[in-house]
């Protein structure tokens, strides 16, 4: 039978309800068919959503931010590393062994034979010496991690030297605690770069800086394939890697700003891992069987800085009172739940000599008594520069409400991160609410900034956090300096404990919380290593 299309019949048929329904059904069905099965991520690729807009360079001599440090930790090798589960244990990386001279001034490293860079070039003492000197010569932001040992562009040729093809000798200026120097070498600034590759791209004597900012010259388990700022990083497994081959072929780090978007992608299986979820989003994922949550205390601490140029904040009783006017517990249990833990000393838990005591809690009566003692029972007005981002924003609101209970009127001045920081660095704030992450695993990293201020004048050469808050502390500076030179570990730990106890009581810093890094991952992701710092988050054991 032949079918003849009759428009009239068609028109009539359309009028019937059943036919209409049929059409609707077919239409909806076709929508489902168009979209073939939602693809999950490939088996050999780890896909994560991560806020990476802070990355401005991938040159290890310039990296000092969290996300870029993590990237470098997986793409570059360092001479030595620390055990992420037991920080005091330092294990060999590119260096097989090392020793310290009796006078504590000379360190000798034996470099592993048989390591090749991703480029195929052989790694030798030349590359190590070049990499460390390069950090000093380029003098970018992380240079202080090495230059604090007395290296200068003028003396590096004598202080950091090659003994033979697989031996490196380094001479420091003082007999520091050995762990201090070794920890500094475990940071990103200690990464070993491929001298041949870097120098092939040198331009006008820039030591390859212009190229390596976005390029790659390492020997780590993964090699950099692509980096597009504020967009994406793609790492591929490095076939030349000297250690156990990484389990996954590729790691994709996609810049996704919002927590809601990250959560959505994770729930749908379009990513394997979300790195920047808020406490709210984490909570709603708790019941999801496809997703598990991994946590690790990180070195970052949240604190308030009270400017000593302010006539109220410079009164010791006022500083003390403010420490009793913060609802630490309340915040920890509400919007910081699982994201931060109570901590009140400048050394984060996990560091040598970290002080775990938390003497302050919300105590309005005590605060009022203290304020009355200095005739401020009616309170005063003070402003706080606050960057418009979580969790700092919520903290500010909580602090505002508890300050008010003692009559202190806190004006919150919101701003973008760089804007509030600009003001803080110029000492033009009253109170600054912020966070601070250590740069290496040694206690000196935070003592250096919270408890040292060699010169409090406006045009000082060295401007640590103590300087930013105009806190003049010659005596405490001396104590911090002494702690760096103590070579007995137990004694040194005790010195830091004492320093923190004093600091906790008198300083214009109100340390409130220690950060916890939380990673939400699909249930099939295994062995994503979270270390105590971002430069010890490792991908190479990860499977899925």
């Amino acid at each position: 039978m032949r079918f003849r299309f009759d428009p009239l019949i068609f028109k009539q048929a359309l009028k019937e309800k059943r036919v209409k329904k049929l059409f609707l059904f077919v239409f909806v069905l076709s929508l489902f068919v168009i979209q073939t099965a939602q693809a999950s991520t490939p088996k050999d690729t780890l896909v994560m959503a991560f806020n990476i807009d802070e990355i401005i360079s991938l040159d290890p001599a310039e990296i000092l931010e969290f996300a870029s440090a993590e990237c470098a930790a997986n793409a570059y090798d360092r001479m030595i590393n620390y055990n992420v589960d037991n920080v005091s244990e330092i294990y060999p990386g590119i260096a097989e062994s090392w020793e310290t001279s009796d006078d504590g001034l000379t360190y000798t490293f034996k470099i592993r034979n048989g390591v090749t860079f991703a480029s195929g070039n052989r790694l030798s003492a030349d590359d190590v010496v070049f990499s460390l000197r390069r950090v000093v010569l380029l003098d970018k932001s992380p240079a202080f991690i090495l230059t604090q040992f007395g290296f200068t562009p003028e003396n590096v040729n004598k202080t950091i030297t090659k003994v033979d093809d697989y031996t490196v000798k380094i001479i420091v200026d003082k007999a520091y605690a050995p762990s201090f120097f070794l920890y500094c070498l475990t940071s990103t600034a200690g990464s070993v770069v491929d001298k041949k590759e870097v120098m092939a791209h040198e331009k006008d004597g820039d030591l390859g800086y212009g190229w390596l900012k976005t390029g790659y010259a390492g020997s780590g388990p993964y090699k950099l394939r692509t980096w597009k700022a504020s967009e994406i990083i793609i790492l591929d497994a490095n076939k030349n890697y000297w250690g156990d081959a990484p389990k996954l072929k590729r790691v994709i780090i996609r810049h996704i700003v919002g927590s809601a978007s990250q959560r959505m992608l994770l729930e749908k299986g379009d990513i394997d891992m979300a790195r920047n979820l808020t406490a709210d989003d984490l909570k709603s994922l708790e019941s999801n069987k496809d997703i598990k949550i991994q946590k690790r205390a990180k070195g970052r601490i949240y604190y308030l800085g009270l400017n000593q140029k302010n006539k109220y904040l410079k009164i010791p009783e006022v500083r003390q009172a403010l420490k009793y006017l913060i609802d630490y517990k309340g915040m920890e249990q509400a919007f910081l739940r699982g994201k931060a833990t109570l901590h009140q000393a400048f050394l984060p838990t996990g560091f040598l000599g970290a002080l775990e005591e938390t003497p302050f809690s919300l105590d309005i009566e005590k605060a009022k008594t203290l304020l009355k003692k200095v005739g401020l029972e009616n309170g005063f007005s003070v402003a706080m520069d606050t960057r418009s981002a979580e969790p700092v924003n919520s903290m500010a609101l909580s602090i505002q409400s508890t300050f008010a209970k003692a009559g202190i009127k806190l004006e919150i001045i919101p701003g973008d991160g760089k804007q509030t920081l600009t003001k803080y660095r110029a000492r033009r704030h009253d109170i600054y609410i912020g966070d601070w992450g250590p740069d290496y695993m040694d206690p000196h990293t935070n003592a250096d900034t919270f408890a040292r201020n060699p010169d409090n004048s406006d045009d000082a050469k060295f401007k640590p956090l103590a300087w930013r808050n105009a806190w003049n502390i010659p005596e405490m500076t001396r104590k911090a300096d002494a702690a760096v030179l103590e070579r007995d570990t137990a004694k040194r730990a005790q010195m830091y404990l004492d320093l923190q106890r004093e600091h906790q009581m008198v300083s214009p810093f109100i340390v409130m919380f220690q950060d916890i890094e939380v990673v939400a991952e699909r249930a099939n992701v295994k062995n994503f290593i979270l270390g105590p710092s971002f430069d010890s988050n490792f991908y190479k054991y990860t499977t899925k």
Binding site: P142, K228, I256, G258, M264, L265, D270, I271, K423
Partner: protein, 349 residues
Amino acid sequence: MSFRPELPTRTRLIKTLKQTVRILVMLATTFLGLLVITFLIGRVVPIDPVLAVVGDKASPQVYENARIAMGLNLPLWKQFLIYIGNVVTGDFGTSVLTANPVIDDILRVFPATFELAVTATVIGIVLGIPLGILSAVKQGSFWDHVIRVIGLFGHSLPIFWLGLMGLMFFYVRLDLLPGPGRVDIFYEGIVTPVTGFLMIDSIVAGEWEIFRNAVYHLILPASLLGYYSMAYLLRMTRSFMIEQLGQEYILTARVKGVKEWKVIWGHALGNCAIPLITVIALSFGTLLEGSVLTETVFAWPGLGLYLTNSLLNADMNAVLGCTIVVGAIFLGVNLFSDFLYKVVDPRAR
């Protein structure tokens, strides 16, 4: 047919020349004004541009070196002159944040915005104008009310909210459309950018799967922006049409027995064409600037996101570069709509 007496060829040539010079001078002054203002804004914002380069922890020495390298120690007028000098020779400087030449960055992010803007504008025109006409013709009817409510929503709902709802519904619940991004994340970085337009590049590379995926990813954000553009166009079309339909020539046409569809689509719409072109051009221009909120919600690496990020980091080379691009877009769109006038309207010739 022209009723004007023909001018001698030479006089006409001089006239065209004069007009061209006038346009060029106008362009130059507009750009200069734009640059001066943006430059000054960039210097008065309370953000330290050196901070974006060296970070919070750099030593004062490192900080000072970077400041000098960026030329920030020079007097303001000198900085500006140097900048203008560079721009004239085609050098827009290097972005602090991405370490790339600004021009490369813009060429990289602009296609993403362009793809969105074009699709959204097409959706806006195809739906907005007919709906606007329908609403004007059936003024006061049930359909008019429905359409006006649609228009009102498009005017008042925040776009990020609608974007998140759209994702929640079509991506999370129904599984019909993909999530944020230009393609699924694991497809990213596979196609080497030739033109920057993912649709074209994926075809060039023969990656049909990626092309298909990219089209799917475009649907939601483009429909969303298209909806807003539609809402705007339909309101404008409606009011233009109502005005035209009340004119006497429409009455005359109807009395003469011209078919109703011809009255509406030919006579009335024809006379709305000129203001409509302006409206479309402006809406397209706005879309080309990049929609910051949509680009954030959909993790769409376009111009809006780039510009905002640069601004918040006081990355002035990037901001100025984007300003020039946006300025050029608007001037271009305006010139183009002027040109279209002449095509559509005999009086403008």
